[in-house]
Amino acid sequence: MDIEALKEEFLNKDFDEQSFDVDADDIVNFALACGEIAPRYTDPSHPDFQAPPTFASSFHAGRRMPEGFPKIPGLGMDGGKASSLKHPIRPGVRLVGRTHLHDIYTKTGRSGPMTFLVMRMEIYDPDGVQLATADTSVVIRERPGK
């Protein structure tokens, strides 16, 4: 696999755009399950009610990979998440997430050779204001014996 060629062809090009409707009950359940106790995350009647700061990481792109990206054999796992929040995410607003491939690299770990694909979703409100960025590192581990 030629990582440099893949980078050249696929990095930093939006390959997916998806809309999300955020529900107040989902925010509350997300927050309570994580152990949040601050009312602004757990009480929809709170004047500053909003999603917890890592909520943006839960949004899924419609497409997992850019069109034409080669299939990398192995077991895909979540290798890491990074959430940056510029403005709160609140219910009742239709959000748009645009996703691009941010980085590709290989390394070896306790489970053997791995390929890392870093997906970046930028999340916007209906006015085009960027609310958050959510990075996901998908790690694809070669199956044992390969």
Binding site: T54, L75, S83
Partner: protein, 140 residues
């Protein structure tokens, strides 16, 4: 001590350790709310069939535990970013501890940097990361 202003934060301060609820019921509740209700997260047998040691606590839930720990310590803190590396699986129904320690304070900007870890009972780090948190002084 609950932190309400950045001037109360001390370099090297350890946040109160938080024991997260990793029960299957709670993970199912989270997974449903987050739209991540796949069998890998909600069913031990299905996860084992995939070659995993058991149902996984979703990485985003570990990230959520870490954020919750910060808010329990500083209720009004605004988390600007949380960056986590998932080193090893966090398994449903197993005990973990969530820890944080202050590694940098920028009083002028109102920012605090925190190291974050999720450790298992053996003290092994399963998840680590950092957060940048804004904590204002009430007058600012």
């Amino acid at each position: 001590m609950t932190i309400n202003r950045i001037s109360d934060v001390e370099f090297g301060e350890e946040l109160p350790v938080f024991t997260p609820d990793t029960s299957l019921d709670n993970v199912r509740r989270f997974a449903t709310a987050a739209g991540w209700a796949g069998p890998r997260f909600t069913d031990h047998e299905a996860a084992r069939a995939e070659g995993l040691p058991g149902a996984l606590v979703p990485g985003i839930m570990s990230q959520g535990f870490l954020a919750a720990m910060i808010h329990r310590w500083a209720p009004e803190a605004q988390i600007k970013n949380v960056d986590t590396v998932f080193r090893a699986p966090v398994i449903v129904d197993q005990p973990y501890t969530i820890s944080g320690v202050v590694t940098d304070i920028d009083e002028e900007a109102g920012n605090v940097e925190i190291d974050l870890t999720v450790n298992n009972e053996a003290g092994e780090t399963r998840v680590f990361g950092t957060a940048t948190v804004r904590i204002s002084n009430p007058s600012s």
